[in-house]
Symmetry: D2
Subunit: 352 residues, 4 copies
């Protein structure tokens, strides 16, 4: 460790991922928050955006500025809307800042795939090769340690990839049979989307599917699982909106190519994730609830086998704002800085 604390900043600090980064970084022993930007609240105190931070000392929110950000920070988290990071990444990198981008801008290696799913051209194609996809349980830590630019995974891809990677790595399931049925809390939509879709009265006591089959996380899940499987993976992904604030529950289905029991597969999953702090493989059939990981960076998993149909069913749960966003970003920061990945992150859940 250096003698002074690492200076960290957040671009887009007044959104949900931004607020969660503040919460986690305030509790991290090795960093100091030195820069916070927000377009909506520029010039105001953070407690205007988040009254709960009233008692904490934090820099004021300012309009994002590359020079200021570069001057103030060693590591910068980009928590703005998708499309923002690719505009500012190059000058920030050139100024020596290390970047962790929580948007989708640098997640997909192929700019054509980005253009197809995000309906816009990529404006920083030359950086795509350099960006490291930061799902630390499934990618090389040495790559992350050296990265200047980390693409922090989406919430659904994190939950889905952790659920299926162990069997895809072995080739034990039919790739054509993969279905990921995911359920998300509302905070996943971010803090800047208003309208009836997120109005309490319309959402509470209700649920629905959305964005099928065109949700933008689909190619990201497929890219990660293709890497793991060593072959091209295509799957059906169906997200649902559930009236809770935090939490993703991912139910993944795959037909087994060989007769494995739930106990055998659970053992395999435990072996696969044996040195991964943040993955807890529970007993077969002990299905986790999202509340078990609320506020934490953990992913809980459990699986079963429907022997009548030879189908593996895996459920994984994460807090979409932590392991699905800010927590994983801090985990990536730890690895970039050569710290143990769980540094400052082993927070127990807030339950109930």
């Amino acid at each position: 460790m250096r003698h002074r604390k690492i200076h960290v900043g957040i671009g887009g600090a007044s959104g949900y991922a931004g607020g969660e980064l503040i919460r986690l970084l305030l509790q991290h022993p090795d960093v100091q928050i030195t820069y916070l930007s927000s377009h909506t609240y520029a010039g105001k105190s953070i407690s205007t955006a988040f009254p709960g931070f009233a008692a904490h000392h934090l820099p004021p929110l300012e309009e994002f500025d590359v020079q200021r950000a570069a001057q103030k920070t060693d590591v910068l988290f980009l928590a703005g809307e998708t499309g923002f990071a690719m505009q500012v990444a190059r000058p920030l990198l050139e100024a020596g800042v290390r970047l962790i981008d929580l948007s989708a801008d640098f997640r997909l290696r192929d700019p054509a795939v980005y253009a197809q799913w995000y309906k816009r051209e990529h404006s920083a194609i030359d950086l795509l090769d350099e960006a490291v996809y930061g799902l630390p349980e499934l990618v090389s830590h040495s790559q992350l340690r050296e990265a200047r630019l980390v693409a922090n995974p989406g919430c659904y891809p994190t939950a889905a990839a952790l659920a299926l990677a162990p069997v895809l790595a072995q080739g034990w399931v039919e790739p054509e049979s993969l279905v990921v049925d995911a359920k998300s809390g509302v905070s996943g939509a971010g803090r800047s989307k208003f309208g009836l879709d997120y109005h309490f009265a319309e959402l509470n006591e209700s649920m629905r599917a959305y964005g099928v089959p065109t949700h933008r996380h689909t190619p990201e899940i497929e890219q990660m699982l293709s890497d793991v499987a060593g072959r091209v993976i295509t799957l059906t992904f169906t997200p649902h909106l559930i009236p809770i604030t935090r939490g993703i529950l991912c139910t993944a289905y795959a037909r087994l190519l060989r007769p494995l029991t739930a106990q055998e597969l659970t053992l395999h999953y435990r072996h696969f994730y044996q040195d991964k702090t943040f993955v807890v493989v529970r007993d077969a059939g002990d299905f986790p609830a999202t509340k078990h990981v609320a506020g934490t960076n953990y992913c809980h998993l459990s699986l079963t086998v429907d022997e009548r149909t030879q189908r593996l069913v895996v459920t994984s749960v994460i807090d979409n704002l932590v392991k699905g966003a800010a927590g994983q970003a801090v985990q990536n920061m730890n690895l970039m800085l050569g710290l143990v990945e769980s540094r400052g992150l082993e927070l127990p859940p807030v339950f109930p």
Copy 2:
């Protein structure tokens, strides 16, 4: 119509399905509630169990008694726990009462399947042949009209069967590819289950899978869909508990055997359900929310096709206590009595 109103009663009136039957029957123009039983509240007023009925005139709750029930009612709804109906059905039928059983006792035609999934022997096997499975959109109305004993379907089977029947009837999908991922509100568990599993503090802001792959509605879904398909159907069924009170959302997956578009399939679904009052087939991709049917007997459906994987995705929503229980029971009663099936049931939703 006869000159006097039909006398109807409810065995197990203090549970959620019982309360919902009261709500619906109070609004039905052709019936009068003449008998209500409850073990828990025997001897008390219905407003002890449901304070909201304080202003309505209803018979007092009494301990269930076959003689009394037979004497007081023309049609009796059995809304008690599974296992009760098969004990009392025979004497009630012999006394001339027509029965609509909301439990699982008479849903499965094969007593061996009942014994396997419900972990007890069936005690009224001779009545199984006679019982008519009352999913009126998929079974013959003339059978229902003549039935003495109707087995009212489970909530999940209703939503799942309505979602998949139109394609299974045509043989357009791979039977091995069927997955039903269902999400249910808490009232589906009934009013007599306590404990941490249904405690507000544990459930709210949380969700989880349960009962996989052994949920008892599995063989019921398969039986109904096998009838529709004309061949044995086996599928994977995964229920989830969601923190809402009412509502089931069923997401059904099937691989297409021929290249059909979402528009073509939507047309087919509309044709299939063209004279069915309670099924609304929405435009492809206009996925319904459970709140759109809250308090009603309607099922809303929408589908899409994931062309990358040739997979059909159908979502159906019902109110588990209405189309999934009490409303469907009243629909069956109407058919048994020779009334139009929607009589007294075209209630608009309570929204929001």
Copy 3:
């Protein structure tokens, strides 16, 4: 009754009160909905605004037009924002339409009070004398029967006035001691207010006071209770936002001027409301839950006396969209039409 059904219309049909009016009027035996307006959804089907009405036959939504409305309806419900009714009331009345205004435009008799609390001048002062405040349990039915223009009460004033009227009518409490602490569900804010204040993620699992001490329902509560008391009443009113969709719970406090027991007061309340269909006075201390009246036009009340402080505590619950808006409006319509006030309105609650 006339030979044809009464033709009724709704100005502002796509909001929550508008949707609830549709639900109730669809179930009313003597009326037919012949006109629906909506600025947001003009030209579209009602199922665009409310997918749950997909199966019901209703006129299309159109831009509000005085001529059209007058031509199509006998009775028109004005369910738009406050400020709209006072612009259109005169020509509509002149065209012979009877009006029930659900906004605040005609509730306050004194235009100076309106201007002070609503921060705008009243533009139809000459109609204020004619408007009848439609809280049928506390105002003269003969006045309502003859009214051309009924001002439908606010949700909080309905709950608060019903809670306190019986003791204020007797002069049994200190007027200076009155406190009304009210808790409301989110639908009370209407369907057109977006922003973080009504965003699910911010509201769920949270509660707060708002608008203290300047909430616009304050002078309306005071006007009604002053009428009942026969003297000027001033009180403290504190509304709170609670994460439920429907329901108001009003807790009213008053110091007793004479030593009365909870039982004596309960008897008095029952006597006071003895012929009022929609008020249920429960036993002392049997405090009602909002869910007991969800979807209904009932108000449940219970009271207790804190003998240590000689303070009466009354809690009243209503569904803010029914007895607090659309239901009360239909009750007023019934009275205007010479029907029994409960006609079409004795719907049992949707519970749970």
Copy 4:
């Protein structure tokens, strides 16, 4: 600090306060959890009771035993039901353990008041004099530092006393005018109460008053405020159950004896709490939401004056499980150990 960490234990570790103590103590730099008891889960791992702790190293749950507890701990938190602490306190104190009791056993100084409100005789009357009531913002820190036995306040009394103490200390309000209208989340009822009262389907989308005017926290609020005021205070306290898991919102009413503005009173409150880390006095009228303090030990306050009625309205919010239970207990522990009171407790809120 001593060289080794302080050994702390929890009697009743599987309830909500117990779980919250574990969460907070795991994050405290100076303590180690060495003892956990639970009657329900004796012999099992903590992750049986709280699956979210699966990744944390904690002692197994055991049946409570005075000898074991005394041998294993320096400080013991008693988080069992009221009635348990008074049975075990004496031998534990004699064995040298310092106690923080989260139940009500040692909160009321007068055993007759305890007997009257808790309907049982106190069995450790001789310890009542020694027990220090641990509301650190309102009691002497030197007393807490020397205490062997701290009575940790109830959740409602904490929120209510913090809201009213600053004006009662000055004698600025009419004591007869005090009303405390409190709203609580469901976790306040604890984890061992089942039944319909806490069933999700009955509670969600509902709210009601309860326990009026006999709630056991009444004399506790009065005792604390009488100490602050220097005279006997009697007030009306009305608790309400709200469908959220965590959070208390207290709305306190008092008539002013002199004409003070909201700004003057806000300044006074800020002065009164100027060195209190955990009290945040917000601007007049900036009413806090419970979510602003979720998961934290903070109390946020705001006030206004209704000048028409000369009534002060204060709203205070706390997390009932943190500042209302486990967090305040850790704050008391810090003071007992001579640490700064906020040690390990300055956690930012989990928002949204």
